[in-house]
Amino acid sequence: MLANPFTKALWETRRSLIGWVLGVSGVGALYAVFWPAMETPEMQEAMASFPQDILDALNYDNLTTASGYLSGSVYGLLVPILVTVFAIGGGTRAVAGDEEAGTLDLLLAHPLSRTRLAMHRVAALLTCLAVITVVLGLVLSAMIVPVGLDGVSVRDLAAMTVHLTLFGATFLALAFAIGAAIGGKGRTLASSSGIAVLAYLAATVIPQVEGLEWVRNLSPYYWYSGEDPLVNGVQTGHALLLAGLTAVLVATGVWRFNRRDVAT
């Protein structure tokens, strides 16, 4: 478990990972359990009375089907927020947090390159992220029959899981890159979170303004769920955009990290 920075990072995060898995899957399961109630005519009527703009902004654009409900509720708001928090928190800790705590010096005084340390830590975080998203997918898959999520297949959930994982990876890479390139825990957290909020607004609120619909095409949030992968399957173009941006961010972060001073 203490063989290298990758296994070390996984080992250190074991308790918090269990918490994240339980939390995210719990939120998903809780929403799913409420689907039978949402299906009732009374609830459908109540939801219909909400202004459409608000429903759009909250991603509740189709609540008449189980997949529309899951897209809007589970995968539309709370889970991506949780995943973003996990990703930005982890990405910030990977370099900037450790540096600010003063614990990076000792490791880098060892025969360990900055590239290797960074890549191992990013890989460990991506592994944790995948565990969180896959367990959520599995939990929901197991609930399809008991809860009556008609029309949702394991294949649909797998596609959604791919998008959710890549979405989380993008913000993980963003926070990692800012921390690795510039350093400073507070700065990294603040700027990554700011960008995440902007991305959310760019996919939901800003496109509602006349002439600004195109803005959503720039948002990782739109690449994540804009084309509804739960219904339409993996959107290759958007998936590649998320994966590509992740790779570029990680590479840029490592490149800058190798060229800068480590703060005391």
């Binding site: 203490l2 070390k8 250190e12 000792l106 025969p111 001073d261």
Partner: protein
């Protein structure tokens, strides 16, 4: 050996924005010696050490460590170095054993027996979480990780801060053994006493420049010592007036006090004409030298 230095820097300069961390440091540490790197806080000691480890990069100038460049050959170089920072900071949630196993693995594995032997010698409990350890015990973990792979070069940044006097003695013994085993030791401090028992040479840094380099042995010979002698019967001061190196002579019955400058030979021979009951020559306080270099080098010019 002089043409194969363990550490050599040439005009090494580091600017922090407009503030100067190092201003053209020319340093040479010979292979196999213990080098004391002295200066007050903020003089540039840690900056120098962090440059040698490639944690930061110089604004200009070069550094060569064990014949390698910190930037280009960092991995190969750091494999052969043991580093200890004065404020040894690690994640406190792990035990000493876990941390040392991990750090050992980064070096390709360190025999458990070596770690255990060091820990036992320092009286360190490896099974406890680091956050539950006192500052001194935490520092011991740092000492173990710096020594455990028997590196060719030990870079120690104010290493004994936080160690109690007893452990400082153990540490002094460890540094001497490292030297005896052919290891080079580069040790920074802001007090002379931390290095004077082990260092072959001391370099004094001030405002990012080396202002003096001295052999400790020569400093010792040059420095002033206080002498106290008890005779079996009262003596007359005149017997010691004019003895080379002796000043501030004070005789009170069978007791003599004086200052001694330089070699003790003439005084010892003068004492030999009487029956000496006890003789105390104080260890010279090299701190005075350190302070005098500081007071006399107000301009920070190269005097070394």
């Amino acid at each position: 050996m002089a043409d194969n230095p363990a550490i050599r820097t040439e005009r090494l300069t580091k600017m922090y924005g407009r503030a100067r961390g190092l201003a053209g440091l020319d340093l040479q540490v010979t292979t196999g010696e213990v080098y004391g790197f002295l200066g007050p806080n903020g003089a540039g000691k840690s900056t120098t050490i962090r440059l040698l480890l490639d944690l930061i990069r110089p604004t200009s100038g070069t550094a060569t460590v064990l014949g390698l460049r910190p930037r280009a050959d960092g991995l190969a170089l750091r494999r052969r170095i043991g580093y200890l920072a004065g404020d040894f900071i690690v994640d406190g949630r792990q035990t000493g054993r876990e941390l040392l196993t991990y750090l050992g693995n980064l070096r390709g594995g360190v025999p458990r027996a070596t770690v255990d032997a060091l820990a036992e010698r320092l009286g360190l409990d490896l099974g406890r979480r680091i956050r539950d350890l006192s500052k001194g015990n935490r520092q011991k973990v740092g000492v173990v990780q710096a020594f455990m792979h028997t590196p060719e070069l030990l870079i120690l940044d104010e290493p004994t801060s936080g160690l109690d006097p007893l452990l400082q003695q153990v540490f002094v013994a460890m540094v001497r053994e490292a030297k005896a085993a052919g290891q080079t030791v580069f040790m920074s401090s802001h007090v002379m006493s931390e290095v004077q028992h082990t260092a072959d040479r001391v370099g004094i840094i001030r405002d990012g420049r080396l202002v003096a380099v001295e052999r400790v042995e020569e400093l010792r010979q040059r420095s002033v010592r206080r002498v106290e002698v008890h005779f079996s019967e009262p003596v007359t001061p005149s017997a010691f007036v004019g003895v080379p190196g002796v000043s501030e002579l004070a005789v009170d019955g069978p007791t003599l006090h004086c200052r001694l400058d330089g070699p003790a030979d003439a005084l010892v021979k003068a004492l030999g004409r009487h029956t000496v009951v006890s003789l105390l020559i104080e260890e010279p306080d090299l701190e005075d030298f350190f302070l005098s270099v500081y007071q006399h080098n107000g301009g920070g010019r190269d005097a070394g």
